[in-house]
């Protein structure tokens, strides 16, 4: 019913809308690719760090290899967890279970773990940092601590607390029943990662203590945004 010109105008209008959607999709894709590049570069730099540390800490190729493999495996599992949630974050409880799974939390050693606390949502950054830290704690527990004998146990508990400067997430990793503990004469890479690296990354306070009954790691961090948002 419309003249040619009118018909052409109608067609232009429809094309405009399609172009807008097309541009939006292109922008979205460009953003995702940028994000992907960023994450890949960070992952490569993390792997490089893992390799550098392993080589620095031992002359034994077997030890070096195992150190690299177990840490990369832990990193990979953290990525699995974050990937499942589309990199929006991860639940703290899910994270603890995920990290401790290779150490037997779901299987034969289940009775040697206690995990107490809500599944608080963590940012991807906090989840990655805590994942690395828990892996170091568990690895040390196997080598020297509560998992190095048949009786030792580990409890991981956390609460949200109101302090004068805001809400805090307070977590404690406590080992019990392992061989008698003495403070290490030399702080290994794992201890550095936990006491320094983690505190820096979470903007919180971390302490690693060695009472004779078993290692205690206390992690206090500002409550994640998801908690503050209610």
């Amino acid at each position: 019913m419309v003249k040619d010109e009118a018909g052409k105008v109608v067609q232009h209008f429809v094309s405009l809308v399609d172009t807008t959607k097309h541009h939006q999709a292109q922008e979205q894709a460009a953003k995702l690719i940028d994000e992907l590049n960023h994450r890949v570069k960070n992952t490569l730099a993390t792997v490089q760090s893992i390799v550098a540390q392993a080589v620095r800490n031992s002359f034994d190729p077997q030890v070096v290899r195992e150190s690299i493999e177990t840490r990369i495996a832990a990193l990979s599992r953290s990525h699995d967890l974050l990937g499942r949630e589309k990199w929006q974050g991860a639940g703290l409880r899910d994270l603890v279970v995920q990290v401790l799974e290779p150490f037997g939390v779901a299987g034969g050693r289940a009775e040697r773990f206690t995990i107490e606390g809500k599944n608080i949502r963590l940012s991807p950054k906090a989840a990655l940092a805590l994942g690395i830290a828990f892996n170091e704690l568990a690895t040390n527990a196997v080598k020297y601590g509560a998992f190095s004998n048949k009786a030792g146990t580990v409890s991981v508990e956390w609460t949200l607390e109101h302090k004068s400067d805001g809400r805090w997430l307070c977590l404690r990793w406590r080992e019990n029943g392992g061989p008698p503990v003495a403070p290490p004469s030399h702080k290994g890479f794992g201890s550095r990662v936990i006491e320094r690296g983690l505190a820096h990354e979470l903007d919180g306070k971390v302490s690693l203590d060695y009472p004779p009954d078993g290692v205690i790691c206390t992690i206090d961090m500002p409550a994640p945004q998801a908690v503050l948002d209610g």
Partner: protein, 107 residues
């Protein structure tokens, strides 16, 4: 997190005797005020925010610095920094070259 520790180890290997690190813009600005520093490496992206306020403060305090980025050359906007850019992951040759250049007095 492991990246920071590896960078610190590399810096120690290259002869740095004192290293301070900040994970947020506020912390970085506070550190700069507390000073003094011979040089700085600034990640273009800090906690999801662009770190240009830090670059500004470093310039104001006369502290030479390099940006570090995982985005390749185009990650740093024009007009910022001294032009020094470190690409992640770092390696010793790259780090040595850039940091040595930062230590040269400006001509």
């Amino acid at each position: 997190m492991l990246i920071l520790m590896a960078i610190e180890d590399m810096l120690v290997d290259l002869g740095c005797t004192s290293i301070a690190a900040a994970a947020t813009i506020e912390k970085a600005l506070a550190l700069i005020e507390a000073g003094p520093f011979d040089m700085a490496i600034v990640d273009v992206n800090l906690g999801g925010e662009r770190s240009y306020p830090i670059a500004k403060s470093l310039k104001a305090h006369g502290i030479p610095f390099a940006f570090s980025t995982g985005y390749g050359g185009h990650g740093v906007a024009q007009g910022h920094g001294n032009g020094s850019v470190l690409n992640k992951p770092f390696d010793y040759p790259q780090l040595t070259k850039v940091l040595t250049a930062l230590l040269e007095p400006a001509t």
